[in-house]
């Protein structure tokens, strides 16, 4: 498969989510590539929605990593808002902003983000000459400081690596296999596991510091994306109106969401997410709260977006839709991906007994 060579857009590694003692997601690992349309199905309470909400950190994962577009979303130090701007999300309950008109709903995020970028660019350009002068004077000193930091952390890694080897050896010796109820469990000495984990974390932290260490660079003038706030608003409005026209709701631009039908609300919610020009769209049961006759219009819109090549992850109960739109289907139950594959393989030749049972009930 050529997909294994491409870098995944979203890389999920050992994603675990617990609500108190309830384990909802159990070490899920999967890769989502650009242009893929992943449909997630499964029984309710199986963790589908939680998985989707963890992908853009609306739900804090208990452990594991989500690497999206090169950023680890579970890292507290990244700017999660910037990452979320690249991920559109559509909710089961639409969640249109009730205090804003349809047009304002769509424009709010692009305008806010545009304003912020403009401010940053202006600030950057203003302090640029002073900063570069400062760098000219003290650049060598700052570089030396970064060098020192890297060297120090390299020394830490070496030291802990040396400590790790004997601990790991001893730890491996305490391995015990237990058979319980037909399943094999592997246990290690608890104290040693803790000790090993501590050392490994220290090494990882040092590696992260080295990764992050940057030599100060002279600033370059940033180009202003728009001349002023007015232009940002005009551009956002133009785009919003174009999107509204595309879904045939241009005449609803200035009404409040409470006057719209469920199908219209959901289509506008989808457009609101699209207005940010995201790299991936997440759909959390987009048709579950709709009247049966409105399901069609929403699914049609999702299909047209899918045809335009958007990467999507869709949680749904609509099996026909899943078959039609998916490039890959996942079955999540008990916090694990029990089976995944192409729609044909998945629906016609399911292997997992739990999936067979599930499909026999819903198809």
């Amino acid at each position: 498969m050529d997909q294994s060579e491409k870098k995944p857009l979203i890389e999920v590694k050992y994603l675990t989510k617990k609500f108190g003692n309830l384990l909802v997601l159990n070490e899920i690992s999967t890769n989502i590539y650009e242009g893929e349309r992943v449909v997630i199905i499964g029984p309710s309470g199986g963790g589908k929605s939680t998985f989707l909400r963890c992908l853009n950190v609306l739900e804090d994962p208990t452990s594991g990593e989500i690497i999206f577009d090169g950023d680890d979303l579970t890292d507290l130090k990244i700017d999660i808002n910037v990452c979320r701007q690249k991920m559109g999300m559509v909710f089961q309950q639409f969640n249109l902003f009730n205090n804003l008109t349809v047009l304002q709903n769509i424009m709010l995020a692009p305008v806010t983000v545009g304003k912020k970028r403009l401010k940053q660019a202006k600030w950057n350009n203003r302090i640029l000459p002073y900063y570069n002068k400062f760098l000219e004077k003290f650049g060598a000193k700052l570089n030396a400081r970064v060098d020192k930091k890297i060297a120090k952390n390299k020394a830490i890694i070496e030291k802990y690596n040396a400590m790790l080897a004997p601990v790991e050896e001893e730890w491996a010796k305490t391995k015990r296999t237990v058979e319980k109820a037909g399943k094999v469990f592997v246990t290690y000495d608890k104290a040693l596991t803790q000790k090993k984990l501590k050392i490994v974390t220290k090494i990882e932290n040092a590696e992260r510091v080295i990764d992050r260490a940057k030599y100060p660079q002279p600033k370059t003038p940033m180009e202003l994306p728009f001349p002023d706030v007015k232009a940002i608003k005009a551009a956002a409005e133009e785009r919003a109106m174009a999107l509204l026209k595309r879904i045939g709701l241009a005449e609803k631009a200035n009404v409040y969401p409470s006057t719209l039908s469920g199908g219209q609300k959901q289509r506008i919610a989808i457009v609101r997410a699209l207005a940010m020009q995201p790299k991936v769209m997440l759909f959390d049961e987009p048709t579950s709260a709709l009247d049966p006759e409105m399901v069609g219009e929403v699914l049609d819109l999702i299909k047209t977006i899918a045809d335009s090549g958007m990467t999507m992850i869709i949680v749904t109960h609509e099996m026909g839709f899943a078959k039609e739109v998916a490039s890959r289907v996942c079955f999540i139950d008990g916090g694990k991906i029990k089976e995944e594959g192409t729609p044909d393989e998945f629906f016609n030749h399911p292997k997992d007994p739990r999936l067979q049972e599930f499909l026999s009930k819903v198809l």
Binding site: N81, M89, L100, T112, V113, A269
Partner: protein, 240 residues
Amino acid sequence: MSIWQIFVRQFVTLSGYKLVLEGLFNTLIIAIFGLLLGFLLGSLVAVIKTIPSYKKPGVKVFQTIADGYITIFRGTPMVVQLLIIHFVIFPLLNINIKNIIVGSLVVQGVVIEAVIAFALNSGAYIAEIMRGGINSVDKGQLEAGRAVGLSYPKTMVSIVVPQAFKNVLPTLGNEFIALIKETSVASFIAVTDLTKAFQNMANSTYEYIIPYIVLAFCYLILVILITLLVKLMEKRLKKA
């Protein structure tokens, strides 16, 4: 003398209307600015109190301060707070507020002290009102705002708080009505508010019946006006 003659003598011949206008002006200044500042303060405290604290440990400190503030200002009488601010805190900090002159209007320093006291007091009540309002807004609104990439404060300010405001508007109207009537205690720190003006008038002529009945009608009219205002606002916000 007939009632009408007494009325004319009190308010026109003896220039009682000047006193009344001054008192009305001070009462309105205290009530309006007390409410506005109290609303801003209360909203801020409410937003701080509703931040999920497990995310940023530093928030806990602010939440404790907010809790302390609410406990103190809801736990002591308004008059006591007014007296403490005027006779204890301001002299201790050596603050002397000067009169503010806007055109031909003069806002006395004591009136500004009263505004601060009433803002702090109503802020504590409004904080709890707004907290209820914020909790009554569907959680999905916050999630949707965060999901499109808005920051937590931005989502709060432009989406959640406006909706919370709409939900608590009747209660806020209640608070405003209570506040405008409570301003009558401002005379404790030598503010000539509406009540004090009528008291002065009555004391100078030993004629009590007319001034106090007119005083009651003054408050009644003010409260009716506020009620109408709140209704109008509710109507406008109902569209959304």
